[in-house]
């Protein structure tokens, strides 16, 4: 689907719901598999924030590049990486999208131009600037979308990167997923200026704050930004206001926020919100929802079966992928 307006017809409504449900159900299984110790290390769930990756990816083309964070399962799924390869990566299997070397925090995929999977907060922003610079200098038309949380705005790399992107008028879409907590530190106790869009504007980057729990609003805002980016108008900035329903990682007892606050935000869950709206609007029927749920369940089950059946890399290959192997 191209164009600036979101066409909310039945096929597109099914697509938006399907993408959000794919992320939700995939990650619910990930949490289970973590307790079964099939997935180890850090596992950062995106549950509650699905509308953002889903809405943004709708506006992208295959030639565009994506840079994400360590909470990137949703972005990887919505960008079109095979869920089987993502699950296999979480299992540390050779068939994973990073060959098993990365795990949950480091999903990569050359075919969809998905550049990680960066677990240094703010570390992906300079990379996105450089990818966009390469597009500009080579006269190509791809743009780069860079996702990061509101915690990253405190990092120097955020400010350095916004300045560079604006200075050189690079085709970067910065997407700040503001879920209010940098791990356990609330925005209000870490930033003197909590209006993040204003920070972008101080670098002369047009910024828009959008309800990140509303998939249609995210898609519409992204389409507006992408149209400007493709017209060569320089970088754009979206702040998506959202909330993480689950803990920061599987180790987090959530001492920093009240249960009532979490419950309140769950009333804004982007999935039932969109589903109910689309049903009321006549674009979706209960039967469609059931069909999508069944298809998604099958997809997730197939991903798990694929990951289970995957193979472990030989220990003899430990030193691979450090440098070029064909070097004389």
């Amino acid at each position: 689907m191209s164009g600036v307006k979101v066409r909310l017809d039945a096929p597109h409504c099914r697509e938006l719901l399907r993408q959000m449900l794919r992320i939700r159900r995939f990650e619910e299984k990930c949490a289970e598999l973590y307790t079964k110790e099939k997935i180890r290390g850090f596992l950062h769930l995106y549950i509650g924030e699905e509308a953002i990756a889903t809405g943004v990816m709708q506006a992208l083309e295959p030639q565009d590049a994506v840079v994400a964070t360590y909470r990137e399962h949703g972005h990887a799924l919505a960008r079109g990486i095979d869920p089987r390869a993502i699950m296999a990566e979480m299992f540390g299997k050779r068939e994973g999208c990073s060959g098993g070397r990365g795990g949950s925090m480091h999903l990569f995929d050359a075919a969809t131009r998905f550049y990680g999977g960066n677990a240094i907060v703010g570390g992906g922003l300079p990379l996105a600037v450089g990818l966009a610079l390469a597009e500009q200098m080579q006269g190509r038309t791809g743009l780069t979308v860079c996702f990061f949380g509101e915690g990253a705005v405190a990092e120097g790399e955020f400010h350095e990167s916004l300045n560079l992107a604006a200075l050189w008028r690079l085709p970067v879409l910065f997407v700040c997923e503001n879920n209010l907590y940098a791990m356990g530190t609330a925005l209000a106790i870490s930033e003197a200026e909590t209006d993040i869009a204003r920070k972008a504007e101080s670098y002369r980057i047009l910024a828009e704050a959008v309800d990140g729990m509303d998939v249609v609003a995210v898609e519409a805002a992204t389409r507006r930004a992408v149209a400007a980016l493709r017209a060569g108008e320089g970088p754009r900035f979206l702040e998506c206001r959202t909330y993480r329903f689950r803990a920061h990682s599987m180790y987090d007892p959530q001492l920093y926020r009240a249960k009532a606050e979490v419950e309140d935000w769950m009333h804004h869950d982007p999935i039932p919100r969109f589903r109910d709206w689309a049903i009321a609007a006549g674009e979706l029927h209960e039967a469609d929802v059931a069909t999508i749920e069944a298809e998604v369940a099958d997809e997730v089950a197939a991903a798990i079966a694929f990951a289970e059946a995957g193979t472990l890399e030989a220990v003899e290959d430990l030193l691979r992928h450090v440098g070029a192997e064909a070097r004389a």
Partner: protein, 324 residues
């Protein structure tokens, strides 16, 4: 054969690379309008324009990371960091991104990036502009670390560095920029091997970068004392060319390492460890080293001179190894 300075050799190498491959560009603080803080890129802005001789804001992390992204996107960037002390502001991008992307992505993405940095003391620039931190960077798997010590290497190491599919750091000792020598501009160099700069049979002096000149003078003085010295210029600090080091030790059975870095945890310690691992039973004397004193480099000339490796210090240490 042509005579040129180290600075001019580096500029000629950049110019040649940019003429040969339009994907190559230079980016860093003051590389354009100022002409480079050591005048390496002087005149290149006029020739290639601001797109390819790209002045950056003072934001080492962002423009180093942008170099990584540009390399991923198909370009062949040369990022210049004014000094290796300033490179610490970009350490996150160098260590956490450039050196790890190939691995984290299971070999899908490579980072063909060259980073040039000035290193070393001797100019009374005090404790934030004078250090030799190349040994730190040589600790990191995924990076190749070069230390051109000669005008020939300054002229010839950039091309193979740009051809490398992985990130390469080139440490240029700032005292070398004015050094002039006759070189062969067409010589094709490797970035894998150490070089024997002077053959000898009694003692291996192992060094690199800005200490090579001092070591060569010390070797002359030792020769006059009847000690035949073999001087090894490491050229490549990662991966270390262990073969050349151990072959030399097989002949001389004694070694002294000269390193402008600090002694504790430095590259000199690594070289000694490799010798112990690979040539312990061939040694005729304990290994020794001359390093910088363990102090931030001081401003006053006499204290700075006392802190850095000196010719007299190298000769004295060599005589001690030889027992005469």
């Amino acid at each position: 054969m042509t005579t040129m300075t180290y600075r001019d050799a580096m500029r000629a190498a950049i110019r040649e690379a940019m003429l040969a491959d339009e994907r190559v560009f230079l980016m860093g603080e003051d590389v354009g309008h100022y002409g480079g803080c050591y005048a390496v890129s002087k005149g290149l802005l006029e020739e290639f324009g601001p797109e390819r001789i790209r002045d950056t804001p003072l934001s080492e992390s962002a423009f180093t990371g942008a170099g990584i992204g540009a390399a991923l996107g198909g370009l062949r960037p040369i990022v210049e960091l004014m000094t290796c002390n300033f490179a610490l502001l970009a350490l996150d991008q160098i260590m956490n991104t450039a050196a790890t992307l190939r691995h984290m992505s299971g070999g899908q993405f490579t980072v063909p990036l060259v980073i040039r940095l000035a290193t070393g003391g001797g100019r009374q620039l005090a404790a934030q502009h004078s250090h030799s931190l190349e040994g730190w960077f040589a600790h990191i798997p995924g990076l190749r670390v070069l230390a051109p010590a000669t005008v020939q290497d300054a002229r010839g190491m950039l091309a193979p560095a740009l051809a490398d599919p992985d990130p390469v750091l080139i440490f240029e000792n700032a005292l070398l920029y004015n050094e002039a020598a006759e070189i062969d501009e067409g010589q094709v160099l490797d970035i894998d091997r150490a070089a024997i700069r002077r053959p000898g049979s009694d003692l291996s002096l192992i060094t690199y970068g800005g200490s090579l000149g001092k070591t060569m003078v010390a070797a002359e003085q030792l020769d006059a004392l009847g000690i035949s010295v073999e001087v090894i210029d490491l050229r490549v600090l990662r991966p270390l060319d262990e073969g050349t080091i151990l072959a030399s030790l097989g002949k001389t059975r004694r070694a002294l390492i000269v390193d402008e870095g600090w002694r504790s945890g430095g590259i000199s310690a690594e070289i000694m460890a490799r010798i112990i691992e690979g040539a312990f039973w061939q040694l005729d004397a304990p290994l020794a080293r001359v390093c910088s004193a363990e102090v931030p480099i001081p401003y006053p000339r006499h204290l700075e001179e006392a802190a850095l490796p000196s010719i007299a210090g190298i000769v004295a240490a060599a005589r001690q190894v030889m027992g005469r």
